[in-house]
């Protein structure tokens, strides 16, 4: 076993043998701890601020009489500050990911579930998945956060465009209902209204040619999606046994 792996294990914590009530209690405690939302706390921010101050003060201290001990303290403070910064960034990444998921889940299929090829990662260097699962450093977490923020901004723009498109489609439908004669042969798919299915609102002449000549127009909603294989039952999970 390599020395570095052994060194990593030296600091490993061992869980108590989970027999009986003690183990149950341990699992319960860990459960309770995990119900808390990960977010940047005031103490995190204080540590960050302190870390930043330590970082600024460190060069001034280096020539002093207590230089070595101060540098050691500064190093410890820096490490603590960096850890707090990473925790903050991880919390930000979590929030951004949840917001992204919410937009995609609410707007699918009008907003794609994943970024278009080449778009998702254009903001920041290496594709994160190339790194594999690892403990990310400050710069990697920052890149991930920035990439997610960029993607979220893009999705919000798409969502706003989609909202505007649907709003104008609803307005058009309202007018088509009021004055069908002004919108002869106009077709408005229900998907433009943000509804599922294959229906289409269509302004058509009443009684065919007679209506066309007489100017009798009406708004009709077509029936749903055509069945791809006729009306016979299709093979699906129910057909296996």
């Amino acid at each position: 076993m390599p020395d570095s792996a052994r060194a990593a294990l030296t600091g490993a914590r061992l869980a108590p043998v989970s027999s009986g009530a003690a183990a149950r209690r341990a699992l319960l405690e860990s459960r309770c701890a995990n119900t808390e939302e990960t977010r940047v706390t005031q103490s995190d921010q204080l540590i960050l601020d302190r870390g930043a101050q330590t970082g600024e003060a460190a060069p001034a201290r280096q020539g002093g009489s207590a230089g070595a001990s101060s540098a050691a303290l500064g190093g410890a403070g820096d490490a603590r500050g960096e850890r707090a910064a990473r925790r903050t960034l991880r919390a930000q990444v979590g929030r951004l990911e949840r917001q992204l998921s919410a937009i995609v889940a609410e707007r699918f299929p009008y907003i794609p579930a994943s970024g278009a090829e080449g778009h998702a990662f254009e903001a920041g260097g290496e594709e994160p998945s190339c790194l594999g699962p690892s403990l990310l450093g400050l710069d990697q977490l920052e890149r991930t956060r920035d990439r997610l923020a960029g993607r979220l901004q893009e999705l919000r723009r798409l969502a706003a465009e989609r909202d505007e498109h649907e709003r104008s489609a609803h307005e058009l439908l309202r007018l088509m209902k009021l004055e069908p004669g002004r919108f002869r042969d106009v077709r408005l798919p229900v998907s433009d209204l943000g509804q599922g299915g294959c229906g289409v609102w269509h302004v058509r002449p009443r009684l065919g040619l007679i209506g066309m000549l007489a100017g009798w127009w009406q708004l009709k909603l077509s029936s749903g999606c055509p069945l791809p294989m006729g009306s016979s039952p299709r093979g699906g999970p129910d057909s296996w046994s």
Partner: protein
């Protein structure tokens, strides 16, 4: 070969779920990450890698009918799958590229029209995943040396103890026993440590991340135990 992390007695995993160890750096950075493992004595007569029996097949059939397209899209907002998505981001994986286990299962369901029956062990783990949202992996107990835990791989380490074990880059998060990485976290298992057709003793492990109640991970392990231990 070392017997595991310092102070860890070498013993076979019991049927009760047991919290695994975390290396110090992992615990400091990801304090809510947990590995739970347990041992299973397989009592089913069927081969683990053979076709799954009728009861497992029926369960998959039921799950296929319950799991539909709307859920496949909305699953990323459910608390447990969302927690895994967030965790993937935090460890450098893009869940839209390397999918979380439950999302990968949902994708397969949509592409193939159902959860098609495959091998017994694979299907039992899939059922636990679909029921709880928690991924479970299985190792052959005879190839595991000491309790399982999570750490970063070191320079020059390999994934598993077999001769054809692939090299691991340094810093990769792995599930390891006392001496060797046995699986990449949320990734592939080491060759030579996977259960074979006739393996009768398994070590199951589940990974719970921040925001996932430990009870869910216990439930996932229990579901697998129950399915494999019944004769």
């Amino acid at each position: 070969m070392s017997a595991g992390p310092p102070g860890a007695p070498r013993q076979r995993p019991g049927p009760e779920p047991r919290l695994g160890w975390l290396a110090q750096d992992v615990e400091q950075e990801l304090p809510e990450l947990r590995l739970l493992s347990c041992g299973v004595q397989v009592r089913r007569p069927e081969s683990l890698t053979g076709p799954c029996p009728r009861d497992v097949r029926a369960r998959l059939h039921g799950l296929s009918n319950q799991f539909r397209g709307a859920r496949a899209i909305g699953i990323r907002r459910e608390p447990v799958p969302a927690a895994y998505r967030v965790f993937f981001r935090q460890i450098g994986l893009d869940p839209d590229v390397v999918r979380t286990p439950i999302e990968e299962a949902a994708r397969e369901r949509m592409l193939r029209g159902g959860f098609l029956p495959g091998e017994l062990l694979e299907d039992v783990l899939l059922i636990a995943l679909l029921d709880t949202g928690i991924p479970v992996w299985a190792l052959a107990t005879e190839t595991v040396d000491g309790p399982l835990g999570i750490r970063s791989s070191a320079e020059g380490e390999r994934l598993g103890r077999s001769e054809d074990a692939p090299a691991l880059p340094a810093g990769r998060l792995v599930v390891a026993d006392g001496s060797t990485p046995l699986a990449v976290l949320f990734g592939e298992l080491a060759p030579g440590h996977r259960p074979l057709a006739g393996t009768r003793e398994l070590t199951l492990f589940a990974i719970a991340v921040a925001g996932v109640p430990g009870l869910y991970a216990e439930e996932a392990l229990w579901a697998c135990q129950t399915a494999l231990e019944q004769p």
